[in-house]
């Protein structure tokens, strides 16, 4: 059976035009997807049943037992952490947050290791943005800063920017100027009209310089700023100012380099400045397909997009203090539930070591690096393949992922609902 308009649960582009052929509980082909999508749909290394560590090996167990034991571990803890969430649907995220609330736990999503600094910057100065269709239909200048979409978001350019014809741009590739800013010449830089190469750690200075230029203070700019010549800075600023609609997309190259949130803040303030002259927007290139959804769900329930600490009953937020990496590196937590992410692969070594020391439970379809740190793993259906639910694209557009076939695994929602019910029972009214 061929299913059309399938939503891809891989990256923040959340492409929804895939055609997937299914036979029974097996996917046999994927059309329109990028290589990352194909891998996600076709790959299948799933655990068969829940497993728990016994001695040096693993033993199979039942869902009921694994969930009950998890509930007990979490209830016994004084500082439990519920981490992950970006790889599952909103309905499951919502239960996870209520679970944290009743446990007095820390709850955090993968923003903590990707666009957390962007969120901090937005909290300081706001976010002039738009949905991706605005860019597709209008943008005549597109900037990728500290990101290589060809690698990390393979269809971003063809669906939304460089190669996507829009209402006001009938021949997008020719009508749009492409500017790439990076510390090295990436594949995306090869097709750019203008490549700006910055010395590592120099983004903040370059952004400050551009702000001053846009304000007409050209005389202050030294001959070179972080390896970028004054002439090129002027040229780029003039390109910005002559745009009818400009769009800046930035990635971890800007977010996670020296200055972190202040780089993003500077980029946003540049965008604001440009709006006094023309139309400009800026947007983070979100990684996980539903990391933005986790920010949204966290926010409407707790008031904060990530890193929420319920220890004292109220929702407390202070990245740097309540973010998973910081909490784990200080060895604060005494239990951890990982849902739909792989901190074993993405966290610093000290954090992974602490996860291995404390009782860690993972709810995830696949065996991954975190499995090796865990005491229990509970396999679940994959959202977008054999489970469905809400996801938010990197620009905030909510799309319902589809269930392509009914498999044998429970969804994240089903497992978390059962866990929540048991915890509620243990905790009492």
């Amino acid at each position: 059976m061929k299913i059309e308009d399938v939503v891809c649960p891989f990256c923040g582009c959340l492409c929804d035009d895939l055609v997937v052929e299914v036979e029974g509980t097996r996917i046999v082909s994927v059309e329109n997807g990028c290589t990352l999508a194909n891998e996600k749909f076709m790959g299948d290394h799933r655990l068969k049943t829940p497993i728990r560590r016994e001695g040096k090996g693993w033993k199979e167990t039942t869902y009921d037992e694994a969930i009950r034991e998890t509930a007990q571990i979490l209830c016994d803890a004084d500082r439990p952490l519920l981490y992950g969430w970006s790889g599952t649907h909103g309905e499951a995220q919502s239960i996870g947050i209520h679970l944290a609330e009743i446990l007095g736990a820390l709850v955090d999503n993968t923003s903590t290791v990707c666009h957390g600094p962007s969120i901090l910057a937005i909290q300081e100065v706001g976010h002039p943005g738009c949905t991706l269709g605005q860019v597709k239909n209008r943008a005549d200048v597109v900037v990728y800063w500290g990101t290589n979409p060809i690698d990390a978001h393979p269809r971003h350019m063809s669906r939304y920017t460089t190669f996507a014809d829009g209402f006001f741009l009938k021949d997008a590739f020719r009508d749009r100027k492409l500017i790439v800013v990076d510390v090295r010449k990436s594949e995306s830089a090869n097709i750019a009209d203008e490549f700006v190469r910055i010395q590592p750690g120099g983004d903040y200075a370059v952004l400050s310089a551009l702000r001053a230029i846009v304000q007409g203070k050209r005389s202050i700019i030294p001959p070179s700023v972080a390896g970028v010549s004054r002439e090129q800075l002027f040229r780029v600023a003039d390109l910005f100012l002559s745009a009818k609609f400009g769009a800046i997309f930035f990635g971890l190259g800007l977010t996670m380099s020296r200055g972190k949130s202040k780089n993003i803040r500077n980029a946003i303030e540049l965008t604001e400045e440009l709006n006094r002259h023309t139309k400009f927007i800026i947007s983070p290139m979100r990684g996980h397909w539903n990391v933005y959804g986790s920010n949204e769900v966290f926010t409407w329930i707790t008031g904060y997009p990530y890193a929420v600490d319920f220890a004292r009953g109220i929702a407390f937020y202070n990245p740097g203090e309540t973010t998973s990496v910081d909490v784990l590196s200080r060895k604060e937590c005494d239990a951890c539930l990982v849902v739909a992410s792989d901190p074993g692969a993405h966290f610093p070594k000290a954090c992974a070591e602490h996860l291995a020391r404390i009782p860690t439970v993972q709810i995830d379809p696949h065996v991954n690096a975190t499995t090796h740190l865990s005491r229990i793993q509970i396999p679940v259906a994959v959202t977008g393949i054999d489970a469905e639910g809400t996801a938010y694209r990197m620009d905030g557009v909510p799309i319902r992922t589809r269930m392509l076939f009914k498999g044998n695994y429970p969804s994240d929602t089903a497992v978390l609902e059962q866990l929540y019910a048991i915890v509620k029972e243990i905790k009492g009214p």
Binding site: G126, T131, G133, R138
Partner: protein, 566 residues
């Protein structure tokens, strides 16, 4: 079968013509009935003011921009934190509380139905997700059409029926309730960083004017026989001298409906400014109120501002940017492809600011000068003018001239020169307030037919009992008590269940979402219209099949079906 009997209630039920009588109210299975058996649970209202559940006909509580207001404002979140308590979840936020925060605070004030003022169709799923997490109010979503390309094309072609077809398809696809126009044409212009400045300005590239959009949509709305009228946020919001635009807009309105207004003008305070700059801004509430009084086909809500900190959020992207240029705090903007825009900035309304003092006076003046309370709803355009928790204070200001005088004494002394408020004697009574906070809304929204806004047998048992005794309380003198009383019900009853008591929410909520579906003749069904489908796939970034909001997002949806007259 659950039965309740509320005894000795001091009832004001404007839709039933009850203007303050001591009576009993019987409830069975969530509805009001003539009588119940002797085993019914009894609540003694002890002569306290008993009204239909409050209805907010214009508030921003759920959806993309509201949540972004939270997301970007940890400083606001920390200003209103409560811990988990009984069945109540954790809440955060003062001006943009979390969904449960909104729901509990509304419930404690006796509100049982809330209309979200602006939902972008492309992001409707988000609004519905938050509706589900706002469990103590029935929710409705005004759906944005101000910059809708298909609508503007239909307007350009002077094809009113096509416009109606676009509305019918969209409302049914996104489970919306009514047509919302926010700065019509202006949000599209903002896609290029521009705006429209009067109702006769051309929208760039589309060759239509705001006036044409408004007129077409008013008529299209009636062709679809929708319960509510077009809900309009006029052009030129917040601009000194904008009262002319507002008067021009009121002039456009035909009288097409004998049950309700033909146009609902929202947060009119922001549209009643004289002068030409921020230095000489003045109140034009008298001109505006006169126009409203002379035009029975329009209804308005106040859009009152109250002093203090809040967050402004609207689909009116260009206006928010202008406001940002004044405040220089922080600014978010979110344009939505082919449809609309939005912007958010935090503001602080200060008694030291003459402009803010004039704005404060205008809202009250509108409520006092519009003669018919059925056509003037109490609102703050939550949270734009103030968070809705300020409603009790506004009620007290409207009921007490004495209170107003005390407040005016605290303002910038120049204020009196620019506003007529000090000379207005009128004090609203309990009945006026009952109309302006529920009955008027039910009528204006067209939801009396599904049992909203009244306490007559057959109505939904949504009831608020306030610790106020109108028989012995003089609101003019005892305004502090009025304020406290409207802030915290003794009982809030939703669909026959006590949901809040004396300031605490006591049960888990189970709200409904109310939406409309207009059935159109086959030739007007856009879901199979080749031209519409082709454009959709070309210019949107989601597939048409992934656009409609699935039924699963409305676990207790109430659909109001209509037959279109096309």
């Amino acid at each position: 079968m659950s039965e309740f009997l509320i005894r000795n209630a001091y009832v004001i039920d404007p839709l039933s013509g009850i203007k303050g009588e001591i009576m009993d109210i019987a409830i069975r299975n969530g509805r009001i009935v003539e009588e119940v058996g002797s085993n019914a649970e009894v609540i003694d209202a002890d002569h306290c003011l008993t009204l239909p559940g409050g209805i907010d006909s214009h508030s921003h509580v759920c959806g993309t921009k509201v949540n972004f207001g939270r997301y970007m404002s940890p400083e606001d979140m920390r200003a209103g934190r409560t811990a988990r308590k009984g069945v109540m979840h954790v809440t955060s936020g003062y001006s943009v509380p979390t969904t449960f925060g909104n729901s509990y605070r509304y419930s404690v004030m006796g509100y049982t139905t809330v209309l979200e003022g602006a939902m972008a169709p492309l992001e409707a799923r988000h609004t519905h997700e938050e509706f589900t997490a706002t469990p103590h109010q029935d929710m409705l979503a005004n759906t944005l059409f101000d910059g809708n390309w298909s609508i503007m094309e239909a307007v350009r072609e002077k094809d009113m029926k096509r416009a109606a077809a676009v509305v019918a398809w969209t409302l049914s696809a996104v489970k919306g309730f009514a047509i919302k126009l926010t700065n019509p044409g202006g949000t599209e212009a903002w896609g290029w960083g521009e705006d429209v400045h009067s109702i006769q300005d051309q929208v760039p590239h589309f060759g239509v004017t705001p006036a044409e959009i408004i007129q077409t949509m008013i008529r299209a709305n009636e062709l679809l026989n929708l319960p509510h009228s077009v809900h309009l946020h006029c052009n030129a919001l917040g601009v000194p001298g904008n009262y002319r635009t507002t008067l021009d807009t009121i002039d456009l309105v035909p009288d097409l409906n004998d049950k309700r207004q033909s146009l609902y003008l929202t947060h009119l305070q922001f549209h009643s400014y004289g002068g030409s700059t921020w230095k000489d801004i003045s109140s034009k509430s008298e001109d505006i109120a006169r126009a409203v009084n002379n035009k029975p086909a329009v209804a308005i809500d106040m859009g009152q501002i109250m002093f203090g900190r809040t967050t402004t959020m609207t689909a009116d992207g260009p206006m928010e940017f202008k406001l940002y240029m004044l405040h220089h705090n922080k600014w978010s903007n979110h344009d939505v492809e082919l449809e609309t825009g939005s912007g958010i900035i935090p503001v602080y309304y200060s008694r030291k600011s003459l402009v803010n003092c004039v704005m404060w006076a205008i809202g009250l003046e509108l409520a006092l000068l519009v003669k018919d309370p059925w056509r003037c709803m109490l609102s703050t355009d939550n949270p734009n003018g103030a968070p809705f928790v300020k409603y009790p204070e506004i009620i007290a200001l409207l009921m007490s001239r004495h209170f107003r005088e005390n407040e005016i004494a605290l303002l910038d002394p120049r204020t009196a020169h620019y506003v007529p408020l000090p000379a207005i004697d009128r004090e609203l009574d309990w009945y006026d307030i009952a109309v302006m906070t529920r009955a008027g809304q039910a009528k204006a929204l067209g939801i009396t037919g599904i049992g909203k806004g009244s306490l007559a047998p057959g109505a939904e048992a949504d009831i608020a009992i306030y610790p106020l005794k109108p028989e012995s309380l003089d609101p003019s003198a005892e305004y502090q008590q009025v304020m406290a009383g409207f802030g915290k019900t003794r009982y809030t009853i939703k669909r026959g269940r006590v949901v809040a008591r004396d300031g605490d929410v006591v049960v888990e909520g189970a709200n409904s979402t109310i939406w409309t579906r207009a059935t159109v003749p086959p030739g007007y069904d856009l879901s199979v219209d080749p031209e519409f489908m082709k454009k959709f796939e070309q210019y949107y970034t989601v597939r048409m099949s992934n656009y409609p909001v699935q039924d699963v997002y409305l676990p207790r949806g109430i659909c109001i079906p209509t037959e279109a007259s096309l």
